[in-house]
Symmetry: C2
């Protein structure tokens, strides 16, 4: 596929090129928060923007140093995603089979202080770059659950999003408010969500690579076998037995199985996932990948990003002196009425049909 | 084509069906004008709405009776579109060749009073239903040109549209403000415009049949040979010579020719135009026409319609006792950024490709 060229009258290629001609791949920068109407204009265009310093005076932005968080949360138990390479929910070469699979993190509970100490220590110590990577990234509304004590340090909703996305019948409320804490070793692989997303950087920097929904044919969505990291039982060494301290077992990627509903046989679970990485454009490319013009933006501390529904985003991060990256995001339900959702499904269907034909 | 059925996995059929499942084909009715934000939510969904009585207290709505207009405009010269069947800019069977062509009206200048008298007399006199049809419908910003003296009777802009469609860099101003005067014999054939449109009924009723932009594969856009009505020279009768009065000559549909740029040969001019009529769904149908779920709305005097950019609309009218239909519409530039325009072009391209394949 990578070698094949789109034809002269290739509707998918024309779609991507037409969009590129009419839209900038440079993100619009605001320097104060938009009004609800100004925001709605971006929603109407399904186009991202960044508000530089939009969250600069949030209590979170002003107070959440590593030390503050450590004092504040102490030994509270938190859920942590653990992976060997910072590859939670990411396409990953399976170490045994060599094939590309979808890897879910091992999740384990840990005291917040132990977690934070590990993250910072790893970030600051070059030698620990090859040890396992920990990322608090549950994405299950955790700032109103596990981290509830921190919730009052951020606004409960983004006012311009609330006003704009509400209808006369129903007030728009965040479906989830998520806290993200990790270091520069964690990367979130290119994917999309069916939510309007407001993403706020609190500590460190976040680097977004963004692609609009119609770039689906560029991202090489593929059915990947799905697996999850599991921690192997660790054989205690004599030293550990003597001291009572115990090393953690290695992470092993175990593929998921499920019963076939019809045959009752066990089969491997697969998930559709983008395998093209805009930062490695030659690898896993489709014939359309080179037409994509990714939008890139780095969020600094206190910046806000509007990430429109269904946009692909790859997110990596870098830390400042403190050695941690902290972010908060708000998910609002997207509007499935109007043309965006059906049109995006249409692009998927045409792309799929074309792939099937080129196999014939 | 009409007989062929869409396949099980026909992306175009799926697009139309998915949209229908997620969107109502009943128009939303407001009972007061929306705010700019409320309007922008409709723009974002590219979805029409009607404001019942939204223009009820405009001076135009309150004063423009036939008598008032006649007194006000008197014998001012106006441009009138003349057609044999009320078929200005419409697919029409050519009387000689029997083939479907695109017919442009004959345009002629006339005193406003003569025009208005003709329109009303025809509407009220059953026997005149077969005589030629006159429609003031220049669509060239005529309310700020020819009919400038009436312009102050309507607002210069629709305030919620102005506020919503403006950008921080540029205020949105109407590209055109058009006046339409005719009777129930004129129909505007199904077509679309690349404008955001606010349509206001002043006298009589307007019946809209609406289809969203992705219904392009339903409307059977075809290359039609283009012609225009021309008034034949009339042979004076002895009676006319004696009285000095002269009948008008018959309208003849004359096909347009142009020189081929390369060969220099004369060739016929063609225009792409929808030939499916949602009110005659069996005729000129494509395999997708039956999937369309047209939205229908009748505007009463003082009602306003938001007709989103790129929506197909067929417009017919009926008169109340006065025997005239009068309407005003505001065109605002549409936003070509964002997904709507490229997606719509994509639907056209996929549909075209499919038509070519089914011919192979």
């Amino acid at each position: 596929m990578g070698e094949e060229q789109p034809g002269d009258h290739d509707p998918i290629a024309d779609l991507i090129v037409t969009y590129n001609e009419l839209n900038s791949s440079h993100i619009e920068e605001l320097h104060e928060e938009p009004s609800a109407l100004e925001f709605m204009r971006f929603v109407a265009r399904n186009t991202p923007f960044v508000v530089r310093g939009g969250a600069a005076n949030w209590k979170a932005t002003q107070t959440w140093t590593a030390e503050y968080l450590s004092n504040f949360l102490g030994d509270e138990t938190v859920n942590v995603a653990v992976t060997p390479y910072g590859n939670a929910d990411a396409p990953t070469i399976h170490p045994q089979t060599g094939s590309l699979v979808f890897a879910k993190p091992h999740e384990e509970d840990q005291s917040f202080n132990d977690f934070l100490t590990y993250v910072i220590h790893q970030e600051k110590t070059r030698g620990l770059r090859n040890s396992e990577v920990r990322y608090a990234q549950t994405q299950n509304d955790n700032l109103r659950q596990e981290y509830l004590s921190l919730y009052s340090h951020v606004p409960p909703t983004i006012h311009w999003a609330r006003i704009a996305l509400s209808s006369p019948h129903e007030e728009a409320k965040p479906e989830a408010v998520n806290l993200w804490i990790g270091n520069s070793l964690s990367t979130t692989a290119l994917h999309k969500d069916n939510y309007e997303n407001v993403y706020v950087q609190i500590r460190g920097r976040k680097h977004f690579v963004l692609l609009p929904p119609h770039c689906l044919p560029c991202v090489n969505e593929s059915e990947l076998k799905s697996g999850g990291y599991v921690r192997r039982q660790h054989q205690k060494t004599r030293g550990e037995e003597e001291t009572g301290r115990e090393e953690k077992g290695q992470l092993e990627l175990v593929m998921e199985k499920e019963e076939d509903e019809e045959t009752g046989k066990e089969q491997e679970v697969t998930v559709p996932f983008a395998i093209w990485d805009p930062d490695k454009p030659e690898e896993n490319a489709t014939r359309y990948s080179k037409l994509a013009e990714p939008m890139r933006v780095t969020l600094e501390e206190g910046d806000m990003l509007y990430l429109p529904a269904m946009w692909y985003h790859k997110v990596s991060q870098s830390c400042l002196q403190e050695g941690i990256c902290v972010a908060v995001n708000y998910w609002y339900d997207m509007d499935f009425t109007g043309p965006l959702y059906p049109f995006t499904s249409f692009v998927r269907a045409v792309n799929q049909q074309q792939q099937e034909k080129s196999k014939e």
